[in-house]
């Protein structure tokens, strides 16, 4: 039986996680985290069905 290589099993997920962290940092510095905060701290009328 052929099992998954170490590359697929560990290195690819680790690389994706690392890329994820870089994206988060980049996005946050670009103001996206603020855009999320701004939306999330007010009651979202669309979400609760009031339009």
């Amino acid at each position: 039986m052929k099992t998954e290589s170490k590359l697929m099993r560990y290195i690819v997920p680790a690389a994706l996680m690392l890329a994820g962290v870089c994206f988060i940092v980049y996005g946050a510095t670009d103001g996206e985290a603020f855009a999320v905060l701004k939306k999330a701290i007010a009651i979202c009328m669309e979400c609760i069905g009031l339009g």
Binding site: T3, P13, I24, L37, A40
Partner: protein, 382 residues
Amino acid sequence: MKNVILWLFGLEESALSDPTVVAGIITSFALIAAVLALFIVLLVKKRFLIHRWGHKVWSRTKLLIQSGFFILTNSFMVGWFKGTIYQGKLKFMCVPGMNCYSCPGAWGACPIGAMQAIFDEFDASKSWLDPVSGTYVQAPLYWIAFYMIGILMFIGALCGRLVCGLLCPFGWIQDLLYKIPVKKLKLPRDDRLIDKSRNPKAVRFWLGVDKYMRYLKYAFLIVMVVFLPLIVKANPWFCKYVCPSGMLLGGIPLMSMNSNLAAAAGKLTLQKLLILGGIVGLSIFLYRPFCRYICPLGAIYSFFNRFSLYKYGIDDSKCNRCKGCSVCASSCPMGVDPVKNPNHPECIRCGTCNSKCPQKAIHAGFRMKTPEGSAIRTRKQK
């Protein structure tokens, strides 16, 4: 200390003169402490080792984990007591599952709502700070939503749809509804079981319908979460016209506690209530209809099942499929055959197959080998 608490809860000092607010703060701390204590007990008792305990103990443990995580992420009790929402700084962070940020208890933002909010902010005429040159340039980069893609990529690459199985509040609610004891809509997946059924032709027809309807969630993701908020704008389209989680966790509690909001209810409220009612009703008979056919977040995580660090795998030296055992495939509530593909995009990593396998041939975790040293196959069966 007082300032830290005020910052954490996003409150002004004057709010502390209200006994309801103080009671809310104390209850929040008590609930968080109780859930953390529960998780520590589960860890110490090694209840996360699905194999060791069998199905009964695992299904109870799973319910405890789901309930605990729901309480942990929705324990802003000031909101529940006063009919408001959390407005503190922690809300720039996202929770992993479908958890409306307008839920009175929510500490974090919903990833799908947050993604639409970023897309909605995108304006091609706006300038942005180029981190390489350090200057402001005219270029549309918000449309990539780096922040949200990063968060979802990190969680997905860590554990894939384990989020759906254990951490998502709307998944948990559907699990509870499915526990209502009525006759269930369940189709066999395994070829042998289909052939043994009363009407194999009809079973295969409905399996086909179910299979193609599952692609709908990718359409919801592309059209209502990405395309419309980015191009047409004006609305978080998925939240506004579809999301039942927003109505259940946000709309109903807020409107029942706040008469001004209730007075604003109209056509859209009715439409969303009907969608919610349909999904709630269907969830009693069919396992997780929202997750199967609609959820755009499940669609995103499904891409990561194949590439995540936490994986399911089969010990082929133990699996008894050749002797006719299909316990895993017939017990999987999502209709997956884990022996054929242990990391199928539809697998929500609920642990049912794993805890029911009489041969203990299904493994979940981070390893490439079983404790006895045999290889674990994480790929599709050849």
